[in-house]
Point group: C2
């Protein structure tokens, strides 16, 4: 209760007009000062700033965005359950902020469909909607794209007027290989994704990377798939082989979990004897705890570039 004014706690937050009255200037001038744009002398700038701070002024983002012709707002839908969406959102915050954009995030969950999430963004009048891993079909995508420019991340689409950004599958797996080689691994195995989306790129990325390190003769690609079961089956085959690898790059996290599970059950020391690396669009998961996220940054940059 150190508040000088007799205002109720949290009620009636001060406005530009309040600050202007207190400082004895016009609201326009306060606006100029708060935005840091030219048009005020250093002296008054300091004085107004002090008054504003003293009153605890916080600008009303709604009123500001309402007045501005362009809202400089980017809408993002993401899946609350998908761990790697978290990485993407985080880097989008950074990338958007650096360019003077705000981010409005709207979550998708079992009880909250993508349509609801997108509708909420439309009401916020964002200039573009970034959909992470959207599951909408092409028709819905097309009709939505008529209302707001759309950008798909982690999914390909050929719909007219919809841009899309997919992670650099080949490059990402390459980074995983680089990482393992830098840790001293030489006998690498890739458990591939069979005919799952992106499997070809990741297989190719693995092959290129081991070749780059001159390890092709010691490397191996075994058939796998996108599920835990596929991973287990592949790991079983690996254990029967005459010479065991020291590191496994799995198609994705679920596949990696399957590999991991079987190795542990067979008394293999992970990561002592064998390292297991999963790769899932934006996140490299090394073991159950250590994680490196590199690709998401890439995706966020691509997203921002696409927005410009």
């Amino acid at each position: 209760m150190t508040q000088p004014a007799g205002r109720r706690t949290g009620r009636a937050r001060p406005t530009l007009a309040d600050v202007a009255r207190e400082a004895g200037v016009s609201t326009a001038l306060v606006s100029i000062v708060m935005r840091g744009v030219p048009g005020a002398s250093d002296a008054t700038r300091a004085r107004v700033q002090a008054v504003a701070d003293g009153m605890g002024y916080v600008r009303d983002e709604r009123a500001r965005k309402l007045r501005q012709s362009n809202s400089r707002l980017i809408g993002v839908t993401f899946d609350l359950q998908a761990a790697f969406h978290g990485d993407l959102v985080e880097h989008l915050y950074g990338a958007a902020g650096a360019r003077g954009f705000d981010l409005a995030i709207s979550a998708v969950a079992p009880t909250r469909g993508e349509d609801v999430a997108i509708q909420a963004l439309l009401r916020e009048r964002c200039e573009v909607a970034v959909l992470l891993g959207s599951a909408l079909d092409d028709a819905v995508l097309a009709s939505t794209a008529q209302r707001v420019p759309l950008l798909l991340v982690a999914r390909r689409s050929e719909v007219d007027g919809v841009s899309s950004v997919h992670s650099d599958d080949a490059g990402g797996v390459g980074l995983a290989v680089d990482h393992l080689v830098s840790l001293g691994h030489r006998r690498l195995v890739h458990v591939d994704g069979a005919d799952a989306p992106g499997a070809d790129d990741r297989r190719r990325g693995f092959a290129l990377a081991v070749e780059r390190h001159g390890l092709t003769s010691q490397a191996q690609i075994v058939p796998g798939g996108p599920t835990e079961h596929d991973g287990s089956r592949a790991a079983e085959a690996l254990l029967d082989a005459p010479v065991r690898p020291t590191a496994v790059v799995a198609f994705n996290d679920r596949c990696a979990a399957g590999v991991l599970d079987l190795l542990v059950r067979r008394q293999v020391d992970v990561p002592g004897d064998v390292s297991v690396v999963g790769y899932d669009d934006s996140r490299l998961a090394v073991g159950p705890h250590a994680q490196m996220s590199t690709i998401s940054q890439n995706a966020a940059e691509m997203a921002e570039a696409a927005i410009d």
Copy 2:
């Protein structure tokens, strides 16, 4: 390009005034129709609605909230990396929506501090800020609470003016026990959390629940802790016992992971021979994949109740 008007794609979305002109009525009447409040005849209501739909009208949430005295907006900060925050946010969406509130969510991440997230919410003029698992110290909490009513979830606080909601530890563990008993389990063990926060409540909840089911004589509480290591150690002791339990309720997910890991290494079939249940604030994780979330719902309801 089936748009009748010559409008550019996505540009200049129609406003109330546009709809009003098209329908030959006042903006106020359109507003009445769009909000579904009384004050219009059924005939014009239908006509205006049709015009609005035809033009693809979407209300501007900013302008609406600016005009309204109370914004009916709830701000939420959550950790992008914390899986169970996802559950909480999802249920908050539901609970808030049911009460006519909107949710503005603002993420916390390694590169985006809680202060930044809260500041963003303040700029949106939300009526209350719900902080999930806040790590702010009491001083910051207190000063923030002067600007907006605060509600802490999954953390206790004695700061003046800050409400807090913590999950019902005792009841949650009770639900876990109920679940296991309903699956046919009779020999239950609780690996407790030693002196970790909430450990007492969970231990008590376990004891009460097994007593309720008349299974006290077959139940057992063994010393554990909040980490994987604690879980492993406790599991080791369990395996040496003369009669093994069929289900383990661990203090939290990490502890459960430790239990699980050791059991698997010792060739115990999970969940065939033994079921392992972790409990972490809002989420019950049964095995590595199956999950039931029940407590988060509880927390969301408590949050909403507190808001009223």
